[in-house]
């Protein structure tokens, strides 16, 4: 019965346009080149053999529930997946030099362990599919996958399977994986995380239990017999000791270091007053317990420690999620390359790991691939996309003898290059090390909360000492009690909660908007920002040309005809303008005419196919319109002259207007600093209304630009996306990396924009204001509460249950106030 229903549903779907989409990747399927396969009794359509192979693999293992659970359709896979052979570029991973680097012995003979990082993961279903598929490979002993970090630890038998096989199997289901070199820092980070979590857990347990023992004294102070009071007191003491020694241990250590280093730094850390308050309260509580009179304060101590550690744990998690520069660099470059060992005698290639290449050797780079090393072009002119490295928006034509850089994309012809630098001596590695330097040089921001807390603790210590001195004069026996009463009646909880709760609530709201905060000071920094430095390619604009209009159309031709002809010529090309033409044609549902002549690619001019020529103005005889089309123009012509001109414009990023309006409203000066050519930068600055701009900048010049602003006392906020922006992002006071950009840029940034629009940033600015306002409110509330409670304690009026209720109410008020931020 069930099968019938399924069949009917699917038949209904055949008639709907939905079924014209590829079952696996969801892209449009053209009726003439459809692949069909029978999966679980239902015929499914595919766009290419790769997608079909993946779906068959998934169904073959009984994992088809993936298609029901996934949140987003998959990416289009590479064509070679239809074959069952491991491609050569992956086989190189079984080379002993790479294998030794990425795997380690796991106990028994022949059992190897490796860590892989998964790419193209979009939802939890993707992670699940990878895990299940890996488990099905013969020879795989154990798979441990982490959904958060997207790293997989695989144990496998080296005689039954290989590292290359694992990588290939992941590609075969539509994802990518690259082996990950587990560094010492990773182990250290995990240890740090686990240790802090245990400390926090102990503090929370202590707090819970001590609060319970303290409850009787809150509610029925007078009716408890003395011996029970003593019993409860000592039990609390026993539970407080581990919290003081184990949980709060690092606080005392860092406070001690800060005191020792006072001679050099002339600054006391935030931990000093905390440690002092904790030590004094614990000492006073213990003495009171021994004397059998007065308050014990253990409830306050444990609660205080627990809240501080909770805030620190959240901060640690966010910080550790950020990638290091070195890790990001590894992701930017390919691991293997094609070497031509007998050049120029023969053009035979061998696939080798990049680490095994040396300067002087010759490499071949196919179109669509990333250049693995710095070098000089020696054969086959081509065109490279250097936008991530330099910010230059248009592809650069490279002639023989021109320099090519690691990390740039080859987009036109297969080229041959002679290596001049590999690994750490390449230009891109230089930028990565500049990034690490910049992170060290970043000016430390003293947060508002720390400043207020500093004043507050100072004021508290002064008033406690003063009142105790006065009591020493009036009645020496009460001096000690009053000193401690003042210290504890003051509510450290409200103060310690004021900032972390507001920050946590605001960060939650910001994440929902599409901004992931990596370093904690972003919201505070945004409020202080006086200057906004924007990158152009990839940040202000999408770095993708869009066909805006078709002009100079010859009579007798419709726009669609010209576009169809141009798209037919460009099909299969990787040039950004070609992709844009094809996209435009696809949007209008144009079917391409069949060309009778083969297409010839003429570097620096354009494409020709028989009588038709498609390319620049000089070659085709078109008219270059100097004003229109900042990205470029392409002209289509035949023997009788021009048929049409296509005008392209780089697309501005969505939400740019909102951001600029918000910045203007706050009197933030906006700067446009880009590596693209000055004319284009000038045009864009004029177009969107930015007054100060600079084009043609190297990464170093961008870094200097920010440094100069900072020397003038400006507080700089930067947004960028490319490798060339990484040092700038690391140096700026507050920086945001566009998520789709280079991994290196994200490594230097304080926050990562996961949305593709800039509009969330405008909202974040408003939210930052609100957060600051709520933090101030919270601190003022804590201050007012203390201004009432402290004088009362000074006079000796405060009894424990009043203090207890006051303390709880005060903390609750602060937390609820912060909660309001979540709705933003």
């Amino acid at each position: 019965m069930k099968a019938d229903i399924v069949g009917k549903v699917d038949n209904a779907m055949t008639d709907s346009p939905l079924n014209l989409h590829c079952y696996h990747c969801g892209s449009l399927v053209l009726p003439q080149d459809t692949y069909e396969a029978d999966l679980a009794g239902v015929s499914r359509k595919f766009c290419c053999a790769g997608c079909m192979a993946i779906a068959q693999t998934i169904h073959g293992e009984g994992l088809e529930v993936f298609y029901a659970r996934r949140a987003q359709s998959s990416d289009k896979p590479a064509a070679y997946l239809a074959l069952n052979d491991i491609p050569e570029n992956l086989l190189a991973y079984d080379d002993p030099s790479l294998l030794g680097r990425y795997t380690r012995q796991a106990g028994d003979e022949g059992l190897l362990e490796t860590t892989l990082r998964l790419e193209k993961i979009r939802c939890a279903a993707c992670v699940w599919l990878c895990e299940q598929h890996l488990r099905h490979i013969p020879g795989v002993v154990d798979v441990q996958i982490n959904y958060v970090t997207q790293k997989v630890k695989v144990k496998f038998l080296s005689e039954k399977t290989s590292l290359a096989r694992l990588l290939f199997e992941i590609e075969r289901i539509g994802y990518e994986a690259w082996p990950f070199e587990p560094s010492l820092s990773l182990d250290k980070a995990r240890k740090e995380r686990r240790q802090l979590l245990t400390r926090l857990g102990v503090a929370l347990l202590g707090m819970m239990q001590v609060m319970m023992y303290a409850w009787p004294s809150y509610v029925g102070e007078d009716s408890i017999p003395a011996e029970y009071d003593l019993l409860l007191g000592w039990t609390s003491w026993i539970l407080t000791v581990p919290v003081m020694v184990y949980s709060a241990g690092p606080i005392f250590q860092s406070a001690w270091r800060s005191v020792q280093g006072f001679r050099q730094t002339h600054m006391l850390g935030m931990d000093v007053p905390i440690a002092l308050a904790l030590a004094l309260a614990f000492l006073a509580g213990t003495i009171n317990l021994l004397m059998g009179s007065g308050q014990s304060y253990f409830d306050s101590i444990t609660m205080f420690v627990a809240f501080i550690l909770a805030a620190r744990y959240i901060e640690l998690l966010a910080r550790q999620d950020a990638q290091s520069g070195a890790e990001a660099l590894a992701k930017q470059l390919p691991a293997t390359c094609e070497r031509v060992p007998d050049y120029p005698a023969s053009q035979n290639i061998e696939v080798v790991p990049v680490v095994n290449c040396n300067p002087g050797e010759v490499l071949r780079v196919s179109p669509g691939e990333v250049i693995p090393a710095d070098g000089v072009l020696i054969e086959c002119e081509s065109s490279l996309d250097e936008s991530l490295l330099t910010g230059e928006s248009k592809p650069i034509d490279k002639k023989i003898g021109d320099r090519v850089y690691a990390g740039t994309h080859n987009i036109l012809n297969p080229l041959l290059m002679r290596i001049e630098a590999v690994g750490q001596s390449t230009r891109i590695a230089g930028i990565a090390s500049l990034l690490d330097q910049a992170l060290l040089a970043k000016p430390l921001m003293v947060s508002l909360a720390e400043k207020w807390a500093g004043y507050f603790v100072g004021f508290l210590l002064m008033s406690a000492l003063l009142s105790s001195a006065i009591w020493l004069y009036i009645d020496p026996s009460k001096a000690w009690t009053v000193l401690v009463a003042v210290l504890v009646a003051s509510c450290p909880c409200a103060l310690s909660l004021a900032v972390p709760t507001a920050m946590a609530a605001a960060q939650g709201a910001v994440t929902k908007l599409g901004l992931l905060i990596v370093r904690g000071h972003v919201l505070e920094g945004l409020v202080k920002a006086t200057d906004l430095v924007l990158d152009k390619t990839g940040t202000l604009t999408m770095g993708e040309p869009e066909l805006t209009k078709i002009v100079n159309l010859r009579s007798g031709y419709r726009e669609g005809d010209a576009l169809a002809l141009a798209a037919a010529m460009e099909s299969g090309q990787r040039h950004p303008l070609a992709l844009s033409l094809l996209r435009a044609a696809e949007l209008q549902n144009i079917t391409f005419p069949v060309l009778n002549h083969s297409i010839i690619n003429e570097l620096g001019k354009g494409l020709s196919a028989g009588p038709y020529r498609l390319g620049n103005a000089a070659w085709t005889g078109g008219l270059q319109d100097a004003k229109a089309g900042q990205y470029g123009q392409v002209h289509l012509a035949d023997e009788q002259g021009l048929i049409a001109s296509f005008i392209f414009l780089d697309t501005p990023r969505a939400g740019l207007k909102d951001l600029l309006v918000a910045a203007k409203a706050r009197k933030i000066a906006v700067h446009l600093v880009s590596g693209d050519d000055p004319i284009t930068v000038g045009w864009w600055a004029h177009e969107v209304g930015i007054e100060s701009y600079q084009g043609g900048c190297t990464p170093e010049e961008k870094y200097d630009y920010i440094e100069r602003l900072q020397k003038e006392g400006r507080f700089v906020w930067a947004i960028g996306d490319g490798v060339n922006d990484a040092p700038l992002l690391a140096r700026a006071d507050v920086s945001i990396a566009v998520g789709a950009g280079a991994p290196l840029a994200s490594a230097g940034a304080d926050a990562i924009l996961t949305a593709s629009s800039l509009a969330p940033l405008a909202k974040t600015l408003l939210l930052a204001d609100k957060t600051q306002f709520i933090i101030k409110e919270n601190l003022i509330w804590a201050l007012v509460y203390n201004l009432v409670a402290i004088p009362a304690a000074m006079m000796g009026w405060v009894n424990p249950w009043v203090a207890g209720i006051g303390m709880s109410a005060s903390s609750l008020a602060v937390t609820l106030n912060a909660w309001r931020l979540r709705k933003a």
Binding site: K2, A3, I5, V6, V9, A12, M13, S16, L18, A40, G41, G62, E64, V65, F66, Y67, A68, R69, A124, A125, V127, W128, E131, I145, N146, Y147, V148, T149, R190, R193, R194, L197, T198, G201, V202, L205, G206, Q209, M212, Y213, P225, Y228, L231, L232, T235, I238, L239, P242
Partner: protein, 63 residues
């Protein structure tokens, strides 16, 4: 009230036990990935292969 002499040591033992439990679970990596297992349990479909089509239909409302 004498029961306190029994209940308080009992509560201390309970706290000590939970502290040990916490230590064990942290060391065991139980908190390293707090999202994954929750997702995985929804995804894992242990039903035999021929009935998986019906589970799929149930989770996917007819269009």
């Amino acid at each position: 009230m004498e029961s306190l002499y029994l209940l308080i040591p009992l509560s201390l033992a309970l706290v000590a036990f939970s502290a040990w439990l916490l230590h064990w679970s942290v060391k065991n990596g139980q908190y390293d990935d707090v999202n994954g297992p929750g997702q995985a349990i929804l995804m894992d479909d242990d039903a035999p292969a021929n009935s998986s089509e019906s589970t799929k239909e149930a989770s996917e409302p007819p269009k």
